[in-house]
Symmetry: C2
DNA sequence: GGCCATCCATCGCGAAAAGCGATAGAATCC
DNA sequence: GGATTCTATCGCTTTTCGCGATGGATGGCC
């Protein structure tokens, strides 16, 4: 059934409500003649009269066929309105945003971002994905936190430099900075060689420092526990350390590395040339702001 | 959100499916430029891009806003298709028909009509209304059986003459015709004075026959039981008698009245100048046919 | 790197339609 | 019978729709 448009159904409903072409026209801001033609077009499209016109002051009356069209038409119009409402909500910032993340960010940055985003947009739908893999598939996500650059058509916004710190059992080193050169052959607990860990080990190796990796685990807490247990030392980014409550831990000591290793860089990524939802755009702003506050506080 | 029409949503869905304006155009029988303009119009209407166009052979990709519009749009299109299907079914004769009736018709004629209508249109929705009142409100119904003429803008189709018969306890009268004049002052069981009963009593009175009404009830079976019990005689239309299984009833006898009383006329009524559904139109045809068969059989 | 293929945007044009105002015709009410 | 209240219809203008052709941009290929 071709050529039935929402406009026709709007007119149909108005006429059915008002009982008269003229009053429907007034309600819709049309002329009576326009309404007449719209109904005629609709009747042509559905192949039969939708109103009986008694003539004179009697109200027009819907036909059985018209009732069928009207019932479905009202549903259509309601759905159309709900679409309009959804679009408005979307533009106001509600909607869904899919964010990829990884441990340090999940622990320190993201909670603050999510909190503020949800405060601003209580109806929004934030979905987080903490992927195990090295290669992030940013294509499926709106936004992605990542500690390193990535190839492909991806735009990146550098959020912060996350310096590496040495974590050791208290007493292993005197307080104060430690030269990473001293870590050669030292037993070390470390992350798996994905993300920035690979780059870190390259940087150490480049200085002739080849620690003896005695255990690899993705869990920050596990790394710290192992250090606490005397398995070895750990070189962790500040965010990874700061996330755990290490400051008040009597059995661990944190040391600046001097000369410093190149810091881990944390980026916010998204597929290039892709239109952001208002919610995603706001998430970027908030992330930048949150990172600024964290850096300022440090 | 003005000016979003189904056409735009159709195009949107096609482009989303095909991943390209050109292929969508081919599917829809449009040109690529037309699709381009349709999407542009839609984007203007919703106030933002619905596709990211990477350029080159890469497929276009829906934006978050576009996804919102698309999700609702598909629902709209599905509803539109369901409307088209409903219209087709309606035109094929399915749908609803509301029929008003009364006892004699309900018992004898209507079952046959309903049976054939349902055989022809298994999906149809036949609703029967047996109103207690004298004045039928035909305005709410598509079709109405009634035993008498009615005022107002009602078209009437005379279905049949239903002659009055005398029902008496066997032995009260000798077999064969009975002169109604003999019923003056006779104890009589009768219907309430609605429908044709009032006219019947007038016709009797006009001939100077004033039976003594000893009991009035709307139930045909009750009338017959009372006659059987000896309360009196009854003058009933043939249909009312034929509905009950009186022929094989030893205790009752049926007598033609001679000279005959003016028969009850049974009409099929509908509101004048009102468009019939195909189902209602067919119901009229079937009713005429059924009545013809009944008359023929008698 | 140059060439080619693919793809979308845009412009001009002709046809269709949407919408308007005015008028005519039909039915009802008083 | 006239007044009133309807809808249908006829020109007419403006907008939209759709087409064809062209141009610009991107990616793949040799």
């Amino acid at each position: 059934m071709p050529d039935v448009e929402l406009r026709h159904l709007t007119t149909l409903a108005a006429v059915a409500d008002e009982g008269s072409f003229g009053r429907a026209a007034a309600r819709l801001g049309y002329t009576q003649s326009t309404v007449s033609q719209q109904i005629a077009a609709l009747e042509k499209a559905v192949g039969g009269a939708v109103f009986d016109r008694p003539g004179g002051p009697k109200p027009v009356r819907i036909t059985p066929l018209g009732a069928v069209v009207l019932a479905h038409g009202r549903e259509l119009l309601a759905k159309a309105q709900s679409m309009a409402a959804a679009v408005d909500r979307f533009k106001a910032g509600d909607g869904r945003v899919d964010i990829g993340t990884f441990q340090s960010v999940s622990n320190v940055i993201l909670p603050l971002v999510v909190r503020r985003l949800r405060d601003e947009h209580p109806g929004c739908d934030i979905r987080l994905f903490e992927e195990e893999t090295d290669r992030p598939h940013v294509g499926e996500l709106d936004l992605m936190f990542f500690d390193g650059r990535v190839d492909g058509d991806v735009e990146h916004l550098k959020l912060l430099d996350d310096p590496y710190l040495l974590v050791a059992r208290r007493g292993t080193f005197p307080d104060g900075p430690v030269d990473p050169a001293g870590l050669d052959a030292a037993p070390m607990v470390a992350h798996p060689p994905i993300c920035d860990q690979a780059r870190l080990e390259q940087a150490l190796a480049h200085r002739g420092v080849r620690p003896r990796i005695v255990f690899r685990t993705a869990g920050n807490e596990t790394v710290l526990s192992m250090v606490r247990a005397g398995m070895g030392v750990a070189v962790l980014p500040q965010l990874a350390v700061g996330g755990a409550d290490v400051g008040s831990d009597e059995s661990l000591s944190i040391h600046e590395l001097r000369p410093a290793l190149p810091p881990r860089e944390i980026f916010l990524l998204w597929q290039a040339d892709r239109t952001h939802s208002p919610l995603a755009a706001r998430a970027i702003e908030i992330a930048v702001d949150v990172v600024g506050m964290i850096a300022e506080r440090a």
